[in-house]
């Protein structure tokens, strides 16, 4: 479908023009560009779009930027093989490629991205075998000079030989044999023996000898062609003649018939190659041949004349495999721009093609002003008629530097040259000079290009923009002979002049900017001036808005509104890569075409986008010339430059709709090339572990027309925010975090046609310590660990506490046990002593026995106290008070002493240490005991107050008192003191003889 569209465009372009010739620029891919060897015998484009070249030393793959060489690895030196690729490269249904030579059957394995020897072929030495084609049953059909036709089935791995029905005579074998078609192999082994057809369906050999001397056989699409009687005869494998093609007459007769290849293209051309004569194509429409040979003097000619194989890829590029010159590529697509000259050396009489101006006549002939005089060029046949200056011929062109050509409304052709101005007559070929005033003549001679442009005003006068200013030409009264009138000759050089609206003239100057003049009654009046210092080169009135002019300048494209005097400058920042503009032309779609120092640009007035065409598009060069821009009445645009000129019709500019193919040719993970696996190849999925996170994509745009102009648009979804456009074919991502990504790639070719999307789905699995379940697990583990450790800790603490408690309890119990046992034993003993003494007293009253009894009773009571105080560690104060009260009662019960005990209430919360309780008890008891015994008191009061964390005790009696403390020393005062000290208390004694004693002791809590 795309092909039809392209062809119809092209057909359109044909209308009115002959078949556009091909611009003969061959791109070469040789050893310097990475090819393994420069003899290329097989060329193939695989189903994806890569180009494959079979050389004498290995298989090469080309992606538009790089060449990758494949050779099988030598596994066992005993099994030798040769890398000479003969015959055809074929592709099976698994996208693997196959080729055969006499040493083996080779397969390029798509998944492994390498070539392997599938089967070694022995006893074939020095004799050729080559793969012819692969059939739908996945059988490789190969042709062996020695043996016959072999069939190797890829699936079964079985080989079957169909031997020749005759014995091979090695003496008679020719150098090269031809072969193949769809279902048959056609060959001729010997001279003068006709030819054979082996039908792979019937597996039969058939011999045809109607014309015995068949010099060569070659495949022609689904047929084959032979040379018979000085023409190429195309036949089917059933030996039916399809057509006859003549042979190129330019080749010597006996060489002519040795055609190597024949290949028709999509444009009605048949390409053939003849050894040592290079490449030809035959135009069936024109019925003529065009030849291309290697020529050192021509730019980008064929690399070498020995052509081995031809191949046309999907983007209509012709690939030429040569013997010693690598691979050449020729773009077969209709050129965007017609080019003159096709080759520099085409016109020997022209020593250069420096073009200054144009004029196209109504017959389609192009008048070109050059430095070689005037050339009249016929685009039909590319012929040139050249008119140079001849000093002795006054009717010759006025000077060899022709700088302006113009046809006025009276059909006069003005030619301005370096020596004058003349009117040209095509019929006579004569240039009739116009007489110029002397002043003008003198000025003219001072410069090479005097007149830049000639225009006709609306009122019929001719105005010239010259090196020094404006010159007018008016008709004389007879309307016949023109003579010049001086105009403004002091303005400086004027590069262009246009009448924008009646009587409004605008001039551009390379030094003084833009001038606006008005014409009033034959006088030109200066109005205004703009952009005084900018180098302006041309004016193009806007065809949509008459008040707007477009100016080509040295700094860019200027849009100038003549009413508002507003301007807009478009330059590098807007996409105009080269801002030095010579010529501006507007086309029917209202796009502007610019010629610059950097090629041709098309400017879209709406979108303000620039499309750039550089010399690679078939321009004469990148540099164009002032004044060398012209739009003919027939709609042709002409731009002239330093090496020739281009012409085209903008609406017919061929733009291909053939898409490029986006391919990812290699993926490297952590700097190691990742081997293709079925998952990646078929499902485009890549699953990586977390540490495989440095990815390099090598990408290719498989359109070989202008590979340097191919661009890539890519995005790693969920990583890159936007699409990125680059012409770099290596794309790297480092340190990608775990996640799911999609790598999306699109490529564009030199015609800005974008490919389909190529995607790869990438999953980087997180390391197990980053997965959600690991996090969950970790959280659970942490919680569990926390809980367990807290519990263990608590348990431990509890256990410790318990142990402490138990220890304490054990201690306490031990103490109690000791005290109890002691008390029991001693107590019972003492009891017995007391009882026995009582009994003895009854029998015998005795003070000693009384003392014994009393002492033993006292001992028992002391022990009770000890036991009491050992009962628990800490007692509440209340219990102490209770116990003291009881003990004091015992002491005071049977005395006549009046006593008072006052202790504070609600002291259950104050806990005393064991030591404190015991000491307080004993102190109090001792003091009261003393009072009872020694003070002779009538009244004793015991009290306690609690204040400020202190216990204030008071034991007061109204007895005799004492003055000498010494008398108390022996009575236990020392003990009391030490007890008080022991519990950090303070003791004060107040005693007045005869009035009693007060003991105050303060115990801190």
């Amino acid at each position: 479908m795309k092909l039809i569209i392209t062809l119809s465009f092209f057909a359109f372009a044909f209308y009115g023009n002959a078949q556009q010739p091909i611009i003969p620029r061959f791109d070469i891919l040789g050893v310097n560009e990475g090819l393994s060897q420069s003899s290329v015998y097989a060329i193939y484009q695989d189903k994806i779009g890569y180009m494959w070249f079979g050389t004498a030393d290995g298989l090469n793959r080309y992606d538009g930027k790089e060449v990758k060489v494949y050779k099988p690895v030598i596994k066992n030196p005993q099994n030798g093989f040769s890398n000479f690729i003969r015959g055809n490269i074929c592709e099976d249904n698994k996208r693997n490629l196959w080729y055969i030579n006499e040493t083996g059957i080779f397969c390029y394995n798509r998944l492994k991205d390498s070539v392997e020897v599938i089967q070694y072929l022995k006893d074939n030495s020095f004799l050729e075998e080559k793969l012819v084609f692969i059939d739908s049953l996945q059988t490789l059909w190969s042709f062996n000079i020695n043996k016959g036709v072999s069939a190797y089935n890829i699936i079964s791995g079985q080989t079957h030989l169909y031997p020749f029905p005759f014995k091979v005579n090695y003496n008679l074998i020719r150098g090269d044999i031809a072969y193949r078609t769809m279902n048959a192999i056609v060959f001729a082994l010997y001279f003068n023996d006709g030819y054979y057809i082996f039908d792979t369906d019937t597996k039969q050999y058939k011999h045809f000898t109607e014309d015995k001397s068949i010099p060569n056989i070659f495949s022609f699409k689904d047929e084959f062609a032979l040379v018979i009687n000085d023409s190429m005869v195309v036949k089917t494998t059933k030996n039916v003649t399809v057509k006859k093609i003549p042979l190129p007459a330019s080749v010597a007769k006996d060489e002519r018939k040795f055609i190597y290849n024949i290949l028709p293209d999509n444009y009605g051309r048949i390409w053939i190659s003849i050894p040592s004569n290079g490449l030809f194509y035959y135009s069936e429409k024109e019925k003529k041949y065009y030849q291309y040979k290697h020529d050192n003097s021509k730019l980008q000619s064929l690399s070498i004349d020995l052509v081995r194989t031809l191949f046309i890829d999907r983007n209509d590029n012709l690939w030429i495999g040569t013997d010693g010159g690598g691979v050449c590529k020729l773009d077969l697509k209709p050129a965007k721009f017609n080019l003159f000259p096709l080759n520099e050396g085409d016109y020997h009489f022209l020593n250069n093609y420096f073009t200054k101006c144009f004029y196209e006549d109504d017959k389609g002939k192009v008048y070109v002003g050059t430095l070689n005089g005037l050339n009249v060029f016929n685009p039909q046949d590319y012929s040139v008629k050249n008119y140079t200056y001849n000093a002795s011929d006054k009717y010759s062109v006025p000077g060899n530097y022709v700088s302006a050509i113009f046809k006025d409304s009276k059909n006069r052709i003005w030619v301005a040259g370096s020596l004058g101005v003349a009117l040209f007559s095509e019929a006579t070929g004569k240039f009739n000079r116009i007489k110029l005033p002397e002043k003008l003549e003198k000025l003219l001679l001072t410069t090479n290009y005097f007149i830049y442009r000639l225009i006709e005003t609306t009122d019929g006068s001719i105005v010239a923009a010259t090196m020094y200013g404006i010159v007018f030409f008016n008709a004389d009264k007879q309307q016949n002979i023109m003579y010049a009138d001086t105009g403004y000759l002091n303005m400086g050089p004027i590069t262009d002049i246009k009448e924008i609206s009646p009587n409004e003239f605008w001039f551009t100057s390379p030094t003084n900017g833009l001038y606006h003049f008005q014409k009033k009654q034959n006088k030109y009046i200066y109005k205004e001036q703009f952009f005084p210092n900018i180098d302006l080169r041309c004016i193009a009135p806007d065809e949509e808005d008459k008040q707007v002019i477009w100016i080509g300048s040295g700094v860019g494209l200027i849009r100038f509104d003549t009413r508002t005097k507003q301007y807009i400058l478009y330059d590098n920042k807007d996409g105009l890569n080269n801002s030095y503009i010579y010529g501006v032309l507007e086309d029917k779609q209202h796009n502007l075409w610019l010629s610059t120092n950097g090629g041709i640009f098309m400017f879209n007035k709406q979108t303000h986008q620039f499309i750039h065409y550089d010399a690679d598009y078939g321009l004469q060069s990148n540099e164009f010339n002032t004044g060398a821009y012209y739009k003919s009445n027939s709609g042709n645009f002409y731009f002239g430059g330093i090496k020739g000129f281009n012409w085209f019709k903008p609406e017919h500019i061929a733009r291909t709709t053939l898409q490029p193919v986006a391919a990812i040719s290699e993926i490297s993970i952590n700097e190691v090339v990742h081997n293709n696996d079925t998952l990646l190849f078929h499902q485009k999925k890549l699953t990586l572990s977390y540490d495989e996170n440095d990815l390099v994509f090598k990408v290719a745009s498989l359109d070989f027309t202008k590979p340097d102009a191919n661009r890539f648009q890519y995005q790693l979804q969920d990583w890159d925010d936007n699409f990125i456009i680059t012409d770099n074919n290596v794309i790297r991502y480092s340190k990608l975090p775990p996640g799911n990504y999609v790598f999306v790639l699109k490529t564009s070719n030199s015609d800005d046609v974008w490919s389909n999307e190529e995607k790869i789905y990438i999953t980087i699995t997180p390391p197990f310590w980053q997965t959600w379940w690991f996090y969950m697990l970790m959280i659970i583990v942490i919680i569990v660990v926390a809980i367990v450790s807290i519990r263990t800790f608590v348990k431990k603490k509890l256990k410790e506490q318990q142990r402490e408690l138990e220890k304490q309890k054990a201690l306490v119990e031990e103490r109690q046990r000791i005290s109890r046992e002691m008390h029991d034993d001693i107590g019972s003993g003492l009891t017995q002593i007391a009882l026995m003494s009582d009994a003895a007293i009854r029998k015998n009253k005795s003070t000693e026995l009384n003392d014994i009894a009393q002492t033993s009773r006292k001992l028992i009571s002391s022990m009770s106290e000890i036991v009491w105080s050992l009962q628990t560690e800490n007692k509440p104060l209340e219990q102490l008070f209770a116990y003291i009260r009881e003990q004091l009662f015992k002491l005071l019960e049977y005395t006549d002493i009046d006593y008072q005990i006052q202790f504070p209430d609600n002291t259950n919360h104050i806990i005393l240490k064991n030591k404190q309780s015991r000491n307080i008890l004993l102190i109090t008891k001792e003091l009261v005991n003393n009072a009872v015994k020694h003070s002779k008191a009538k009244h004793i009061s015991i009290s306690c107050n609690i204040k400020n964390q202190q216990l204030y005790f008071e034991v007061k009696d109204d007895g005799i008192g004492f003055t000498e403390f010494a008398s108390f020393e022996g009575n236990g005062l020392k003990n009391i003191k030490s007890r008080i000290d022991d519990i950090k208390g303070i003791l004060t004694i107040n005693s007045t003889k005869g009035y009693g004693t007060t003991f105050n002791y303060t115990i801190p809590l």
Binding site: S828, Q832, I860, M863, V867, Q879, A882, R885, F889
Partner: protein, 209 residues
Amino acid sequence: MEIPSIAIIEDDDKIRHYLTEQIHLAINVAELRTFKTAETALKELTATPCTIALFDIQLPGMNGIECIKRLKMVHPKMQMMVLTVHDNNDHIFDALKAGAVSYLLKTTPSEKIIEAIQEVNNGGSPISSQIARKVIEAFSIKQKTNDSFQELSKREQEILELLSKGFRYKEIAAKIFISIETVRTHIRNIYEKLQVNSRIEALKKTGFL
């Protein structure tokens, strides 16, 4: 003082003799029996009870408290006193729970012993502050667990409080404006209730309640 019958259960011969002697000297007792073991005492006293019985706690075989408990079940009106070497509150409290109404230190002077016996005969029940505290505890813990739990009256609580602070009957009576007799009666009642509660608890343990 006239007391119909007294029993002394004490394994120490000397003390037994001594006590017997003292009692005989001071009290006009019709019958005074002495026993060396709790088993014999139990047997004999179950058959023929006495008015007041004095038990030593430490006895070979069954201890005194157990004996008190069993006898109290058979003869609730028998007044039992406990003899202790020292005032071990736990023993005393157990004895009270079991059914004793008084305790005596063995080493108490003979007058005191006689006095105590007399007191018991009059219906009094001597009690120390520590014992009082234990009684309070006993009544407070069990309050929540038992429907049949005997609770103390307000007056009884009050008296028990004062006892736990170490005040004597005289002092308590003066403090709350009742007679010493009333104080004594209250204390007896408290003991009764304590005994009932402890019996109930025992029965609960055996599954009868």
